[in-house]
């Protein structure tokens, strides 16, 4: 029997909330693709930042719950409506996560530092003018500011604080977010990265990135940086070719 994920008819909704869409599905597909590794990693604390409808955190719980018992699941969202809808979605699937209404992980950073083994984020990544970032309601789900990076760039240092030594971080990005630059920024903090899922839709070219701590990755060298970016672009192009073939 294939592992269970959240069922769309059971996902709660609200007119002020972003419904599960291609990006959410791609993120859950990445978690499914990595499921065996996730089980082996034996996480104790898993967290979603920006849980929206609750589709992703519910799926993560469902696809781990039989193999990895006793995991503490946390979910945050800056939109109070999203936190309530996530609770409904979780309850409809008979699973539990602790939900906090917070800006990224504000209020949790001090005590959760270095303790989270899996962090999943589908951030607001759509390039918009910066003034649209952080507006109340549904816009907070997609308005990503210049290059769609304003919120992503705020999330990265928080993830670096929260993630445990063996921690993994899954991030939804678009090619227009300059993902190679994101990987390079994380590399300078000591993280290795890879693309778990690449998916082109009519509207966007999605990449699900995975990051993990790797002591060998720390580097400041400019030459290596530029070759890293060109290698990254090559791997994206080859993934895209595969998809269209």
């Amino acid at each position: 029997m294939p592992p269970r994920i959240a069922a769309i008819p059971l996902v709660s909704s609200h007119r002020e909330l972003y419904e599960p869409c291609d990006d959410s599905f791609a993120l859950v597909d990445a978690l499914l693709a990595d499921r065996t590794h996730l089980i082996e990693n034996n996480p104790k604390v898993c967290m979603e930042i920006g849980c929206g409808s609750g589709y992703v955190i519910t799926s993560l719980i469902l696809l781990l719950k039989n193999e990895v018992p006793g995991v503490h699941y946390l979910a945050t969202d800056t939109n109070p409506i999203a936190t309530r809808v996530t609770k409904e979605t979780l309850e409809a699937h008979g699973v539990h996560a602790d939900i906090v209404c917070a800006d990224i992980a504000s209020g949790l950073e001090k005590r959760l530092a270095g303790s989270v083994d899996v962090i999943v984020v589908n951030p607001p990544y759509v390039p918009t003018p910066d003034y649209e970032v952080g507006m109340e309601g549904i816009a907070s789900a997609w308005a990503g500011g210049v290059n769609g990076r304003t919120v992503i760039d705020k999330i990265l240092p928080v993830v670096d604080i929260l993630l445990s030594e063996k921690g993994w971080f899954y991030l939804v990005t678009l090619t227009s977010n300059f993902p190679a630059e994101i990987c390079l920024m994380m590399r300078k903090k000591g993280y290795a990265s890879r693309i778990v899922v690449q998916r082109s839709t009519e509207e966007e070219n999605l990449l699900i990135l995975k990051f993990w701590r790797d002591k060998d990755e720390e580097c400041q060298d400019k030459e290596i940086s530029s070759s890293f970016v060109s290698q990254f672009s090559k791997s994206i192009s080859s993934l895209m070719e595969k998809q269209w073939r």
């Binding site: 006793g70 309530r84 906090v100």
Partner: protein, 122 residues
């Protein structure tokens, strides 16, 4: 909101030093049964601020936890059951979390704490 979350929440207002633990002002407390998992509890106890848990449970009407956890947990199921109940089964459904330094109240509605700040607090 369960006490496992309360144990992880601090006041996030800029400049506040004494930010943990938040004092619980309960309006409605409910108990939701959770499967007993001793391994999970043994893993968690190292991460838990014990005094915050004891005070939190007391403020929610459960005074059964000892002031200090026993040194050996293996054989002490009655202790683990109390720890389990406090950490995972007590739920603050409605109420407030109060910053120990500023007295700022963070509301808890339908079991969800709201840690969002006002503009002048960030």
């Amino acid at each position: 909101m369960r006490l496992i979350v309360h144990n992880m929440l601090s006041c996030n207002i800029r400049g506040v030093v004494n930010k943990f633990p938040l004092r619980i002002e309960p309006e409605k407390v409910i108990v939701k049964e959770v499967d007993f998992n001793p391994d999970f509890l043994k893993h968690m106890i190292a991460k838990i601020d014990w005094k915050a848990l004891v005070d939190g449970a007391r403020s929610m009407g459960y005074p059964e936890l000892p002031d200090h956890p026993p040194t050996t947990l293996e054989s002490d199921e009655s202790f683990l059951r109390k720890f389990h109940h406090s950490l995972l089964e007590l739920n603050l459904e409605e109420g407030s979390l109060v910053c120990p330094e500023t007295g700022r109240k963070f509301s808890v509605n339908k079991g969800i704490p709201n840690m969002l700040l006002h503009e002048d607090e960030v």
